[in-house]
Symmetry: C2
Subunit: 576 residues, 2 copies
């Protein structure tokens, strides 16, 4: 049925046909995700809910705003993207997230948590200003519902004097089980199939903010969903509604239902495991055994950051605050202000949310918080909203902050060990996958680089991080065949630069390589440092564009962060 | 009494003496702020509350975390800083905000809204981990209470399994009157001297999050405050408490009581008026009369951004969401996605909070939102947490974004007019004060710079913004006396750079000047662009340090962003 589905066909289906459609959707999603990687159990839980939405509402006239976008696959399948669904998350294929560029049915791009209610309000306000007439729906999971943006949006509903429809898809999980008092409250509301909510007026919180509260406590029951949505569609003409829907994460696929955290995000079969996060976990446990002041803070992704063992071993020194990156950052700063030694582990892309708090709370107070910045550089299949290619730039401008970029997992361990006695703000950035592959000069010191290849000619390549140094070593091999010698330097600290080493470089041409954008990144810091000297500096980094989804290596190559760029530059310079 | 006050003396005072102390504090604050500038009415409202806190609790053993810090003057006067209080906000003098570096009584530095509850939780958690025993108090105003961080912190209280004391000082104002449903709810709670809260169990919201709610609905009554705080100090041994205190902003100074918004922040007598914000207000009104899609969004500072007239004239196209910079940013993005033309006006320092939303919501979707970034560059007397010296760097790395830096108010008007038809993300950054002073080549175009002084020698100075170009012109005058000719170029767009102009520059030495940090700023973009060419580039910008409070000009001079730096560099180059 999916192959030729359209919105109008779907609206004319019987319940039986719709149920069969749901099963087909489940099969397609499962088969595709097991092959391509992607978000599995979150999407499986939202099948009936999404089919019901399409049955009752009129998209794309009505607007559906996803939160994060981990639930959008069914929506994609129902809106003309079935035939390309096998390309999802592949380079040039469908995005794993809603994308306006991809379909008129996607009205707002997302990727980071908590934005949907704000965005729905803005769209509704625009509708009102323009005198138009359509429904605006925010579909948000209970994990995102912990984010402070939700409160800011709820708090302004009456102020904006508009109507929206918020669907809270509550499966009890963000990536990990959802934490916090708001979720405990949601659990109370759903007791006794919502009778509790009616009796005790527990739903007052939402009414305070201008929403009528309603619930479907078996959100995988398609018929119930359709009935309730039909009823609410009428009510939306005069008021804003929040519909609390309980669904089962991973519904319909036993392995997912039993393992919702492990199957939230599935890696494609050929993706590497995350060696850096393993090193983080093991090393931090070892350090914490010796140092009672060490604490670990995460924002809803403890296990993928490698910290499960730490959390199990030191529960009183572990905090997962849910998807609240800003709060997590301030918790670390204040713990440090009160004498602890906190480690904040987070993906590079989500660290962006804390830019102001890193600046003011951690760094302007010069507090010894260590940020372990995982999934740095191109992260790949999640695309624009998830690439970790800005961190060297937005961290690089912050005073008092030291930025370390280990060349391999062994150096990561060394930096972590050194961090325990480092009494100032520190960020350590590393990619998802890696292994120990590089030589080492044995003289590790904070702020000092190391020369890995002596060179001897006109050229020095300075790289930071495993990916950049791999490129440097490959370029050395290729150019050796042409008789060109190149020095290779491991810039394991991007802030401060090793000014002593830079001052002493005798090579005529310095080539920098990094897995970060050009503007404000590592190479631009080197270029700026040399700017009065007239030394020739060639920066190899990502240019000024958002980077879509694709494989890490294919994207890096296409974007020119590759040994080819080093080799071509050197050859051109030789022949100038 | 204030002159020799200590915490132990204060604890031995009679109520009558304490009341006299409050009056003395009021007089000192009023006299000092009228002279030095600073936060007046917010501080006047919190005098009794703060004296009561010092009477009941034991600082610095107990910890008092301020939110924003607009209420900390009484605390400063009571903790050994009376004799230096006349230096407040002056260079080298006391900070206008809490500062750990200044006193053991200041346990956490603040400046941006909403951080206090998170910080109090982190300190309390550290206390628990270390097995210590003291009280942790967050003192927050109702304006800050709108910020999403509060929700994130409240949501994690039970999770952290600790006890804190939150005092909500509710004066009904942030800078402007406090907006939003949460504040409406607070008003209900305080009706009938709190009887309403008790009867209807309205305070359930706070209980949901693990706080016992209590109230003092005449928070300027010192005796009531002392009684209630004494009672709560006992309760804190076993539970977290939120105390809702109603106070009168500007209390005790009739002019402030009548004009709380105008007297929230007082400028020192010699500070200039804000010409740029006047231009914003007038121009935007004119544009909006012709274009029905134009909307204006602010986060609690409509009047100081110059938008009062716009808000009065186009109420349905105006939104002040309270202190919710991230929500405001997403509202703009989503309004633009739905066909409007939104302008988001904000201070540079507060724009930092929206870094992720500018990146993902506005720029990755390439939406036509115009950010009007006021108080850019050194803002002066508010110090570290308020300097707008990072925006060129954190905006400069974001793809799809155009950054304009008008050289004067006339050019600002021109850029605003051009923005109406500009269909992509745009940031316009400008300082607080300015006047029309510069010549103009008459050929304004997006992305194009202009040459203001032809020069003819070895040197070109490229400056962005009024302050930088003033420095350039002064340097030209000085060096003319030495027979050195210097070209002056107005880089009115920092992104993109005017590559055509840069490629055509024949001068041997390029000197950049900006009112921004060096790392990732305007000059570093120019240095990077020339890095392969061997051209000599000298960047004049702020080095890698947080900039404390002081006068704009004295700070710029001390930090070397001055004509002296240009002149010295040129002279040294001449003599090299």
């Amino acid at each position: 049925m999916l192959e030729n589905i359209t919105c109008s066909k779907l609206k004319n289906m019987t319940l039986k046909e719709l149920l069969a459609l749901c099963e087909e959707i489940r099969e397609v999603i499962t088969a595709t995700v097991l092959n391509n990687g992607g978000h599995l159990s979150s999407n499986l839980g939202a099948v009936e809910l999404t089919v019901a939405l399409h049955y009752v509402f009129d998209f794309p006239a009505d607007k559906l705003v996803f939160d994060v976008g981990h639930q959008c696959y069914t929506h994609k399948l129902l809106t003309g993207r079935y035939s390309r669904f096998n390309t999802i998350r592949k380079k040039g294929g469908l995005s794993g997230f809603p994308k306006r560029e991809e379909s008129a049915f996607d009205c707002y791009n997302v990727g980071h948590a908590g934005t949907s209610v704000s965005a729905a309000l803005g769209i509704a306000k625009a509708r009102d200003v323009k005198g138009e007439n359509y429904n605006v729906i925010a579909l948000i999971g209970d994990g995102s519902f912990n984010n402070g943006l939700i409160y800011e949006a709820f708090n302004s509903l009456r102020l904006l004097n508009t109507n929206i429809f918020v669907i809270l898809n509550d499966n009890g999980m963000s990536i990990a089980p959802t934490v916090g008092s708001m979720h405990e409250y949601l659990e109370i509301l759903s007791q006794d199939d919502g009778q509790r909510a009616k009796k005790d007026k527990h739903a007052k919180i939402f009414e305070r903010f201008g929403f009528a509260y309603d619930g479907v406590y078996d959100g995988n029951d398609l018929e119930k969903m359709i009935t309730k949505l039909t009823e609410i569609k009428e009510r939306l003409k005069t008021q804003s509604v929040i519909l609390h829907v309980l669904t089962k994460k991973g519904k319909g696929y036993a392995f997912c239902e039993d393992n919702p955290e492990a199957t939230h995000g599935i890696s494609a079969p050929n993706e590497k495991v995350t060696e850096y996060s393993q090193v983080l976990g093991k090393t931090l446990v070892r350090l914490a055994e010796k140092n009672e002041k060490i604490t670990a803070v995460t924002a809803a992704m403890t296990s993928s950051l490698g910290l499960s063992e730490f959390f199990n071993k030191f529960p009183e020194r572990s905090v997962d605050v849910g998807i609240c990156e800003e709060h997590a950052t301030i918790l670390c700063a204040s713990m440090a202000a009160a004498g602890l030694k906190p480690y904040y582990a987070v993906y590079s892309t989500f660290l962006q949310r804390s830019f102001d708090e890193i600046m003011i709370d951690i760094c302007s107070q010069n507090l010894p918080v260590t940020m372990c910045v995982d999934r740095a550089g191109i992260s790949g299949a999640d695309g624009e909203t998830h690439q970790g290619v800005f961190d060297l730039s937005f961290l690089g401008m912050i005073p008092n902050l030291t930025i370390a970029v280990p060349k391999d997992t062994a150096e990561f361990e060394k930096i972590l060990e050194a961090s325990a006695d480092f009494n100032a703000p520190l960020a350590i950035r590393y990619p998802r996958a890696g292994k120990k592959i590089f030589p080492c000069d044995g003289n590790f010191a904070f702020g000092k680089w190391e020369k890995l290849v002596a060179g001897g000619g006109k050229y020095a390549v300075i790289g930071c991080g495993e990916r950049a140094l791999s490129i440097a070593f490959k370029a050395v091999e290729i150019l050796k065949n042409d008789g060109v010698e190149i020095a290779v330097i491991n810039a394991r600290f991007v802030k401060p630069l090793d000014y002593g080493l830079l001052d002493g470089l005798t090579e005529e041409v310095v080539i920098t390589v990094e897995d970060n954008v050009l503007a404000g990144g590592f190479g631009s810091l080197v270029a700026q440092y040399y700017s009065e000297s007239g030394k020739v500096v060639k920066n190899i980094a990502y240019s000024d564009k958002f980077i879509p989804h694709g494989g890490v290596n294919e994207l890096m190559r296409e974007l020119g962060v590759s040994e080819g760029s080093v080799v071509n530059y050197v050859k051109a310079y030789e022949n100038r």
